[in-house]
Amino acid sequence: MNEPSRLHLPRAPARPGEVPDFSYVELSPAGAVPRPDINARARDIGALSIDLVRVLDDAGEAVGPWHPHLDAAELQVGLRHMLLTRIFDDRMQRNQRGGKISFYIRSLGEEAVSVAQCMALRPGDMLFPGYRNQGLQIARGMALVDLMCQLLSNTRDMCKGRQLPVMYHSKTGNLFSISGNLATQFPQAVGWAMAAAIKGEDHLAASWIGEGSSAEADFHHALLFASVYQAPAILNVVNNQWAISTFQGYAGGEQRSFAARGPGYGIAGIRVDGNDFLAVYAVTQWAAERARTGAGPTLIELVTYRAAAHSTSDDPARYRAKDDHLHWPLGDPIERLKLHLIRLGEWSEARHQALTAELEGLVAAAWKEAVTFGTMSDGPRLDADLMFEDLFKEMPEHLRKQRELMRAERDAVAAGAAPGAESRGAQTPASQGPRLSPGPRS
């Protein structure tokens, strides 16, 4: 019997009031996926893009061919970076709620992605992060005070007040400027990698986007150019299951994994347990070795879960089930690495508590220092003249004139000759300011 055609509408694992159903997430047992030779042809390893590379089993044991055999000290560094990322996020979230910063984005539940991947790469490799990769900044050793000054848009802000909070960069840290327009960094990273190959260097470029923004044309440009020129690039899709309120089915993830886009373009694709520090480290190391030895680019899909809101501007209670992340079948990345270290006899609850206290102290001290360089409500404040600098290498005449006009405007207001706030420095507190992205504030 002929049925009329109908529109398929992907369904989220759980909306408010429902019990999460994560049965759609296809899992492989820890240790079950083979590790191919780094020179394997993409066409011969297509299964990697469908299976799920896992090293840590439920008991916290590291098993199988992807076990990277890191020493305990390295694992402890990884745990420290992840925990610091989480504590930093938690504190900055509270600072946003307190009106100290205008906007924030947490990476709760996704810390292993950035931290393990950064640790598997070399300092000379160029990173093109998205806005939920603060673990890269922390694992690359960016000073917490510098990150906080960016969040505060204060006098020590690396962006001179021009960027939304969390859009960090570091020239010396090889961390590219975060855009805020989604996925634009993906093909730029490929261009960077192409240049490295043209110059005959062995540095690679790595970039991160969410599964939601893999829908943008930039994602496809990145894969296409990476494939055509076999650029030394690692392209990472962090599949945290959610765009703001639409789940990964709306990015086209229902019928086929995101990693499988790789073989579609003739490049290696790997699907990995993104909450398994050891597995993430191992696949990144494998991809990096491929890139460095001319075996080409790799697309990695990191399967994880966005345990927090999209940002401080949306309330997930309006679009998904409460505490849904507690049902996530791949657990919590910090708890899993902690359990593994305890099993190895290299960690304990007491050490964990001591580390937590130490890192909370570090973050609190850094914040205390950062606010001395200014906050949204208290000086010192950046000179607004900076607005006209760095657009061009040398300031053109029309911007010079506009800077004069702005100064005249400021003087007129100060002299009472024009209407306006007495001091432009006295801004609306962040908590009362306009929303920076769609969605209700909680």
């Binding site: 634009t184 240049a195 760095d390």
Partner: protein, 338 residues
């Protein structure tokens, strides 16, 4: 000095830069082995190798984005967008990324990318091979916009653009590739070899960005224009026997406001002409600047000549094109305001 048409002059500019600076790379659709659909890169891949002159996929967004990445990594990419009409898939990477990388990173990162792209009509290109979208890009803060009108300027401006550390969108009026064109398609084509600006220095030289050229000094009326319309406007003024001062802007961003205003203060009358559409066009910006700077010296309302606010129609190309008649009517209106 050698006789060159505009294509040869552009080729010479890229040849010289590839030879002088190992960080210069060319990229674009069909530009490598084949030498480009307009032959602008002919012979350069053979001379400098496949790693310096790259054929690319048909993906303008990818071309601009990878050029940005290369620029961040110390190269100086010159990317060809085959037709200006095809630039829109790269629009986000140009406006949101290329234009702002230096700004948003407070000077820590920059991408010295030059985007070359043929523009303008008069070649039977229809609505997808004839556009002049320069005004869309002059409206974006952070990119320089250039359009030469002759071989000598084309070479000097292109070298200056490649050497510039800021991004440049370099529009090439393709009707002028082979010779100056006065707007009359019925006349036999005139080669650049008959024109003084077809005499081009074979070595390295630059024409600075941000400096207009007074093509013809005059006292009665100022005509501000660029690209294809330079010759059309000059021919129309000559036909009316007007002592017109013809200004070729060459560079729209940065803009040579001093040359514009000195001329208008002298003549008191002004016509602004471009091939691009009229509404919200670059001409409106010129008019506004003149109004702000020279209002009391004006003897008559400023006139604007432009393409009609429609797509470029294939069958009505010459009714669309702002030819000598449209310029002449504007000149008459500004000389004898009713």
């Amino acid at each position: 000095m050698a006789n060159m048409n505009m294509i040869q002059a552009l080729n010479s500019a890229m040849d010289i830069m590839l030879g002088r600076d190992p960080s210069v790379v060319l990229m674009g659709e069909d530009i490598g082995y084949f030498g480009g659909v307009f032959r602008a890169t002919e012979g350069l891949q053979r001379k400098y190798g496949e790693h310096r002159v790259l054929d690319t996929p048909i993906a303008e967004g990818g071309i601009v984005a990878t050029a940005i990445g290369m620029g961040i990594n110390g190269l100086r990419p010159v990317a060809e967008i085959q037709f200006a009409d095809y630039i829109y898939p790269g629009f986000d990477q140009i406006c949101s990324e290329l234009a702002r990388i230096r700004y948003r990173s407070a000077g820590d990162f920059f991408a010295p990318v030059t985007l070359r792209t043929p523009c303008g009509g008069g070649i039977r290109g229809g609505q997808t091979h004839s556009q002049s979208p320069e005004g869309i890009f002059t409206h974006v803060s952070g990119i320089k916009v250039v359009m030469p009108s002759n071989p000598y300027d084309a070479k000097g401006l292109l070298i200056a653009s490649i050497e510039d550390d800021d991004p440049v969108v370099f529009f090439e009026p393709k009707r002028l590739y082979n010779g100056p064109f006065d707007g009359d398609p019925g006349k036999p084509a005139v080669p650049w070899s008959t024109h003084p600006k077809g005499q081009v220095d074979e070595g390295h030289y630059t024409v600075p960005l941000g400096k207009a050229d007074i093509v013809r000094p005059g006292a009665e009326v100022t005509v501000i224009t660029y690209g294809t319309m330079v010759f059309v406007a000059a021919a129309a003024a000559a036909a009316l026997e007007l002592d017109a001062e013809i200004i070729d802007l060459r560079s729209l961003v940065p803009l040579d406001v001093d040359t514009i205003c000195s001329s208008v203060r002298k003549t008191g009358r002004c016509v602004v002409a471009h091939e691009a559409t009229r509404f919200s066009g670059f001409g409106a910006e010129i008019l506004s600047i003149i109004q702000e700077e020279c209002f009391w010296e004006l003897e008559a309302p400023i006139q604007r000549v432009a393409g009609w606010d429609t797509p470029y129609p294939h069958a009505f190309e010459w009714e669309y094109f702002p030819g000598q008649a449209r310029v002449a009517m504007a000149l008459k209106a500004v000389m004898e305001p009713s």
